[in-house]
């Protein structure tokens, strides 16, 4: 049997300290926590940085490093620093060094890196080793090469290699959410379907139980399946909460693709063991012929400046869409004229907050609110250009009338100056897999003795 302690769905979301102590007392074989995902958008991968505050990450990681020492088992974090790019891994390693020094406890740290060279990935694409998944955007070698960061998602094989170094702590770059939990049970010969299924159920911590905010869960893996037990007061797993978690952020609730194969849970059986634990058997692991890893890439998509005005006059609120469309048309023409830009070299959009900003053309509710915020979003090739265009937009947001005949209106502004630079913005570019001869081909492993 292999016992995995999962403190939380992600480092940075906090965990229940009392429940964590219960987990340590239960003598886990490994403590595994996820450090990120793509869910917060492309900017983190694009910039290679973490979403969570360093202060928060440090406090929680220090607690887990202490827990590791108390439990006498390895600690592993996957997708370190939200995106798992090398710069985010280094950020996490730096925090780990600080804590090791403060705790006065030397540790052996294995670092698994997942960053890929864009030029090498462009070459792999040209050679046909990078292939698209459903709904992949159109890419070519030049576009892949223009990515600021590309990461490959490590699976259980690479985490196993890191475990084999005998490290106390493993800081992994981008991994699948499940790999860090599944690796040790797989290495020790637990049921493969159960290992991957238990890992999927456990990857968000206590989201698979009642009292989902509590975070901490324990998963026992064995030769037939797994048992999941939430550890916080009042948290209970039921067959319903556990099986329902397969739906979460998953486009297919029965199939989960991983490096080296896929998990099929369509025949899984969920049984309550007692008031809080659920036992799961019957999950299947289906190995694939080729070993592939998923790639994630992000590239700069221009620089943005945002500006906003408030419409409160009833007639303008009622006709806000007409007003906004008129401004976008007239201002875009002015940008072409004054800055000698082609019309596809920039974009001006006005989103009507309180009216149709959530769904745009798909909005079905046609009501007139009391007020509307008109948010102008300007995107262009450089910071300076996006601000220049936003300044050309300013007079329209301040004074644009619905008709030529009426007195010039003035709309409310919240700030001076009203233009808010957002810096460089990013976009996801890859929904592809990379074919590998050997699982470690796209990854590197290094070991540091620190503290």
């Amino acid at each position: 049997m292999v016992r995995v302690l999962v403190p939380s769905g992600a480092l940075g979301l906090n965990y229940d300290a009392v429940a964590l102590q219960r987990g340590i007392a239960a003598k886990p074989d490994i403590i595994a926590i996820d450090g990120g995902s793509t869910d917060s958008g492309p900017a983190y991968l694009g910039r290679g940085m973490s979403k969570y505050a360093r202060s928060s990450t440090k406090v929680e990681w220090a607690g887990l490093m202490q827990a590791r020492a108390d439990a006498g088992c390895p600690l592993v974090i996957g997708t370190a620093g939200t995106c798992g790019a090398d710069s985010a891994v280094d950020w996490m390693l730096d925090i780990t060094r600080e804590i090791a020094a403060e705790q006065g406890r030397p540790v052996k740290v294995a670092v698994l890196r997942s960053s890929q060279h864009p030029a090498e990935m462009a070459q792999a694409f040209t050679q046909g080793r990078v292939t698209p998944l459903p709904n992949a955007p159109d890419v070519d070698a030049a576009l892949i090469e223009s990515c600021s960061n590309i990461v490959a998602l490590a699976g259980a094989e690479q985490i196993t290699e890191a475990l084999n170094t005998g490290a106390d702590i493993i800081i992994a770059g981008r991994t699948t959410d499940t790999a860090i939990i599944a690796a040790l049970p797989l290495q020790r010969g637990c049921h493969a379907g159960g290992a991957w299924h238990g890992a999927k159920i456990g990857e968000c911590g206590a989201l698979c139980a009642t009292n989902p905010q509590s975070g901490v869960i324990l998963i026992d893996f064995d030769a037939e399946g797994f048992t999941v037990t939430p550890l916080a007061d009042g948290a209970k797993a039921t067959p319903h909460t556990v099986s329902a978690h397969m739906l979460y952020e998953n486009s297919d609730p029965f199939i989960l693709h991983e490096p080296g194969g896929y998990l099929d849970v369509s025949k899984a059986k969920y049984q309550p063991l007692n008031d809080t634990s659920v036992r799961v058997t019957g999950s299947e692991w289906v190995p694939s012929e080729r070993y592939t890893v998923k790639l994630e890439g992000a590239r700069g998509a221009g620089f943005q400046t945002v500006t906003m005005a408030l419409l409160r006059d009833e007639r303008y609120v009622q006709n806000a869409q007409i007003w906004a469309d008129d401004i976008v048309g007239k201002c875009s023409a002015k940008v072409v004229d004054r800055l000698h830009l082609k019309s596809d070299a920039f974009s001006i959009e006005i989103r009507l907050l309180g009216h149709s900003a959530s769904f745009g053309m798909l909005e079905t509710k046609q009501i007139t609110p009391t007020e509307i915020c008109a948010m102008g979003i300007v995107t262009a090739k450089s910071e300076g250009l996006s601000q220049e265009i936003a300044k050309l937009l300013n007079p329209y947001l301040l004074h644009h009338p619905l008709t030529q005949e009426e007195e010039v209106p003035t709309f409310a502004f919240l700030f001076s100056p009203p233009e808010m630079p957002r810096g460089e913005v990013f976009e996801f570019t890859l929904n592809h897999v990379l074919q590998l001869e050997n699982p470690m081909d796209a990854f590197t492993l290094e070991v540091h003795e620190i503290g």
């Binding site: 459903p134 329902a244 486009s251 297919d252 609730p253």
Partner: protein, 103 residues
């Protein structure tokens, strides 16, 4: 007769990213009667119309064990792209919850 809105008869409709390129929508019906009603009256075509995607692009799962109907579809815009309006994909559920079921 006023038609029932999906959100008024089920426990919860939630939507979320399934990666940057897919959106997934889970309809928790609560019990088997409501589940049967949703399965029989909410067509995949209607869901396609709400989100303006082709019907054949939608994956549908009727999960009787959980009284859940699940739809997955290509994201209206890639997550975080310039025209995307919802980084986490969480508000799209409202559009479906507000749509009316056929009698």
């Amino acid at each position: 007769m006023k038609l029932a809105r999906l959100g008024d008869i089920v426990q919860k409709v939630r939507s979320k990213n399934a990666g940057p390129f897919w959106l997934t929508i889970d309809i928790f019906c609560g019990d088997s009667d409501v589940y049967d009603q949703v399965v029989n009256t909410l067509s995949t075509r209607q869901v396609a119309q709400v989100f303006d995607v082709a019907t054949q692009e939608i994956k549908r799962f009727d999960i009787a064990d959980l009284n859940v109907v699940k739809f997955s579809l290509p994201r209206p815009f890639i997550q975080g792209a310039r025209m995307d309006r919802d980084i986490h994909g969480a508000s799209w559920a409202a559009l479906l919850a507000e749509s009316e079921l056929s009698p």
